[in-house]
Symmetry: C2
Subunit: 151 residues, 2 copies
Amino acid sequence: MVKLSTKGRYGVKAMFDLAQHVGEGPTSLKSIAERQGISEHYLEQLISGLRKAGLVKSIRGAQGGYLLGREPDKIRIGDIIRVLEGPIAPTDCVSEEAPEICSKAEFCVTRTIWEKVRDSIADVLDSITLETMLEDARKIESERSLYMYYI
Amino acid sequence: MVKLSTKGRYGVKAMFDLAQHVGEGPTSLKSIAERQGISEHYLEQLISGLRKAGLVKSIRGAQGGYLLGREPDKIRIGDIIRVLEGPIAPTDCVSEEAPEICSKAEFCVTRTIWEKVRDSIADVLDSITLETMLEDARKIESERSLYMYYI
DNA sequence: TTTATATCTTATAAAAATACTCGGGATTTG
DNA sequence: CAAATCCCGAGTATTTTTATAAGATATAAA
């Protein structure tokens, strides 16, 4: 329940991979797929949507690949998820986009629960950017080397 | 994405319906299904799980039906959702129950995101009980009659 | 200019999950 | 006994997910 599909998970992984290679020129899909353990063909479909949404830029041809469409601190996880999985919506009646109209909506008590769930998910996803993830990764890495040092 | 299935939605509706009839003796599945606009046979399957989990009690035979297994303020929406949709888990690696082991878990930055999503969903669902919903419903109803009065 | 490297597009499809549907059996009340 | 109700398991249609595949297009480098 309330489960992310592989689209969202793979997409975030791929975007984070791109963020880790910012400033190194275009990154090929093949290398991302290999590092992240994702089918290249499948990832192709996902990144196509990300490109159309402007979250990544593509450079075709040999030595081509993908680049982030904006600075890592300007790309929220929520942006990625919405492109790949659609609007955040635990139920259709509280979808962020074009919620399904229900005649009982005004008096519906369950509806208010789903609204709270939707907002709490959106808050989390919109509070984290690729830059946040990079910082977390750096922190984990430095803790790891500190630990290695003491062995 | 991150969508509730009908199981969770119907289940919460049915449980709320039972809460609204507390103290009136057993409520038949048929009447719940009619009021909530749910297939009776389908609801039967769902309530079977709720019964096994102790969230409802059943009384068989003519004039039989279902009763809440505990006081409305002792039944959290999260309890209902977990029975019908399984543990809260935006991804398998951060499932509330038996999370899938991943060798990279310690260093995985995406994982921490899904943990935050999971916790925010659980917090919302566990902060709302059937009693909360009854209070909300009463509030809506009183506002509604006030409005009617002024017309 | 040719070749290798990539992205881009569309079509197909297997597998899994979802949402029911159906039939009949067990239990209790009147 | 008959009607009302819960109980249980099997079957099924639809949708979603998760790919796989083939080939077209674009570019850099040799």
